[in-house]
Symmetry: C2
Subunit: 505 residues, 2 copies
């Protein structure tokens, strides 16, 4: 049963398991105590710190263990911001950081700080020059930039960031750079002159509950209160020492296999990247094709419900994840896909664990087209409430009656405008409803239904004519323009919940 | 090799080990994911939450897992203070709470909040009425009391606190009570109408890295930022699920054995409490003899260096801990002993793990007198620089020459006064140096040397005469008065570093 969600969490590496079991008998005491059990625990902790810091590429007294990568990020960001408070209160981050970074940034804003989010291109990559400019130009009321954060590689689409160049820019600007290395540390140390680094053991086959936080000597750092004596005052509380031992041991082990395994998985991912668009119609493979993690590939499927596809693949024996908004755990599409401006519906992230066999990837490629077709077939039934000029298709209307929107036809565009205060995202969106030849009301419907309903009516307007799509699902802002680009129609913009599309093909 | 530091951390309970191993294969995936590995992890997490909440005595949706008892306390205190900010900003705690609570209280003060520390009696117990009065009377600039914290039992001396009565007082005052149940949860649920509860798995034989935080429905609670989706937003980051499973399973297991084991250990501790003072001269057994944890007993030995005694016992095969300031990990005596006002030098905490054999306790009692004698013999050599009227003992002076204080004789009391701003702790301390017949300069010397030097000269003054002891070790403030009480001399007070003692016996 192939598990293709390595970027989320990995099973315990055999070396981690072995080290964990070995440490259970010696690693339960408090390492700060002076008795023999405490001293033994201390030795284990010291050895784990030595091993982990060597793999990170820092001094052992620069590295502490935390309870998770998220806690490493929270503490690293709060500590560096507090330590550099006199330098200013601006925090520069990329728009595609892990939510732990973005949530820490929101907390900083809530506390009166300033946050600058550097945009990414369509592959999910920040431009080093733009990041550098943001560093220099960011101004908070109290001064300049206190801290910059950049991931080594994106967790959803695998795109590598220009960490080394950004680190140089940061060094030039006198701003410490915190690198979120959660996705890449298994593959090698982070290059360049970074100042802080965070990572998480369960991403490389270590146990859950272990994060790393490195803070280079010389970086001003004030750990967030309350005070605590453990881990240089940077991670309060009694730690799970056997888990720490297992984390350090497995990091060394995966590093020993990293180069060979990276090359092998890279080839498998290249195959997925090449074959998925050939096997499945209307697919957008996203992320940088070359400057990327070896094991991650992400694609989105038009007219597909991400959660339904995930379940279909799960039934077929493949575990993947999805950044679509149409999964039960979230109501908005992934912020990464949004920042990239790519299709979010039917989104699938395939992340191969070390050891994935080529045959497993073959099996996935064999199963995927049918799984997508199955979901599309099921979704093709519902249709929009079409206002004019063509009459609504009776069968379609009946299928969507449960949303109770079929009677809403006249003046819906104006209603939508009023409700949303006239947000204007498009070049011609000043009054998107004015010339529409056809209005489709998809409000109350979740992705990918609005796009499907749009697709079903576009041929009912003449070339040059427009369709007004009313859709209050957040994903529509991403998926309607993406659909237009894939289909060659012109996206005229959105106002409130009213998207206007011109048929050009 | 008996390990008598159970209150610090316990070896993994066999049930915990078994559960941990069983969960390693199923509990590594992200429980928020929709695939089968995620669903399996979710089932384990849900089952662990059910089991743990049953043992705590709360609803399962009131309980979250955190990375440690310390984090539970930090989050519980910060979340309750923030949630009740409109009620006021006063926090009421006992003076003998765990350092995690006191550090959180300091953080609250640093943020502009008010903290009231309720004193304890000589057994380490708060009086419920005094706690209740503090609740009602505490005023912060923004209003009244937001939160109260009380441990179920003290971690250093084992004294149980009147949690049930204090909970009633809190309920009456409309103030939520957070109970730190770290030391008692293994023995049974915390009685009474508490609002929040924190605990730590490694204290009951679960793994490190697992804390519990219960927040009763209806308690206003605003988790400290940054936001995170996991554990009801109350504990960010990917958790160590196998450790959580092991924690919950072992809590059930130790509870099944708790009553019988408590009775057995209580009898063993009673033996230690009775026999130590008979076997070792000049010992003070501290803590409540009856209202106490079943497995903890603490005593302090006059003229003994706590760290040296700990090492002597360690060499003899017994692992204990110490709240003395003369241990390498700390420079001040334990805040618990200070709050109780008892002797802190030569402090030993014996905390018996479940299963401790009577023979192990016998062996400890057989070894202890010789260990104490050994340390005392070694310490008897150094002596004070005695100013007048007796000449300094040449041999003693040579032994203490490394402190380079022997020449400091005249006017040292005044120097000490100036340096410390004239703090005045005693009834007659207005000018403690004035009538002293003898001055002993023990500055720069650590406990128990100042008390030993005092003891060596007291007979050189006539009955009714006074000794002025100059001692800048923090422990002297506790140990000099305690010595006076044990020896029947009169402690006249301290000013700066100058303690005045009148020989009465």
């Amino acid at each position: 049963m192939p598990y293709f969600d390595a970027a989320s969490s990995l099973p315990l590496h055999p070396v981690a398991r072995q080290a964990l079991l070995a440490a259970l008998d010696e690693g339960w005491a408090d390492p700060t105590r002076l008795h023999r059990e405490g001293r033994r625990a201390r030795l284990l902790l010291d050895a784990a710190r030595e091993a982990a810091s060597e793999a990170v590429g820092c001094r052992s007294d620069e590295l502490v263990f935390t309870p998770s990568g998220t806690r490493s990020l929270h503490t690293g960001i709060a500590g560096a911001l507090a330590g550099r408070r006199r330098a200013g209160r601006a925090l520069v981050v990329s728009a595609v950081e892990h939510s732990a970074v973005l949530h820490a940034a929101e907390a900083h804003e809530a506390g009166g700080g300033t946050v600058v989010r550097v945009p990414v291109d369509r592959t999910g990559r920040v431009e080093a020059a733009a990041f550098g400019a943001a560093l220099r130009e960011s101004r908070s009321p109290e001064g300049g930039t206190a801290l910059a954060c950049l991931q080594s590689a994106n967790h959803e689409v695998g795109t590598e960031q220009p960490v080394e160049e950004v680190a140089e820019a940061c060094a030039g600007a006198g701003v410490p750079l915190l690198v979120d290395a959660a996705q890449s540390l298994a593959w090698g140390p982070v290059p360049g002159r970074w100042s802080l680094l965070a990572a998480s053991a369960h991403k490389w086959g270590g146990p859950g509950g272990v994060g790393l936080l490195a803070v280079r000597k010389g970086v001003r750092f004030a750990p967030p209160p309350p005070a605590d004596e453990r881990e240089s005052g940077r991670s309060p509380g009694f730690a799970d020492l056997p888990a720490i031992v297992a984390a350090a041991a497995s990091l060394r082990a995966v590093r020993a296999e990293a180069d060979a395994e990276a090359a092998r998985l890279r080839a498998l991912v290249d195959r997925v990247r090449a074959e998925v668009p050939a096997l499945v119609p209307d697919v957008e493979v996203v992320g940088d094709p070359v400057r990327r993690l070896p094991h991650v590939v992400t694609f989105s499927c038009l007219y597909v419900d991400g959660e339904a596809l995930l379940h279909a693949l799960d039934r077929a024996g493949f575990s993947v994840s999805s950044g679509s908004s149409c999964t039960s755990s979230t109501l908005v599409p992934s912020h990464v896909l949004r920042a990239m401006g790519v299709l979010s519906e039917g989104n699938v992230r395939v992340s191969l664990p070390p050891g994935t066999a080529g045959a497993d990837v073959d099996a996935f490629l064999a199963v995927l087209p049918e799984a997508v077709r199955e979901v599309r077939d099921r979704l093709r039934a519902p249709a929009a409430a079409v206002s004019a000029p063509a009459a609504a298709d009776g069968a379609d209307a009946a299928d969507t009656a449960d949303t109770a929107d079929t009677a809403d036809t006249a003046d819906t565009a104006d209603t939508a405008d009023t409700a949303d205060g006239g947000e204007n995202d498009g070049p011609e969106a000043a009054d998107p409803g004015r010339e529409a030849a056809l209005t489709v009301d998809s409000r109350g419907k979740r992705c990918p239904i609005p796009v499907i309903e749009l697709a079903k009516v576009i041929d009912r307007v003449p070339v040059g004519g427009t369709v007004l799509l009313l859709a209050d699902d957040e994903a529509a802002r991403l998926d309607v323009p993406a659909w237009c680009e894939m289909r060659g129609h012109e996206y005229l913009g959105v106002r409130g919940h009213a998207h206007r599309v011109r048929r050009t093909a």
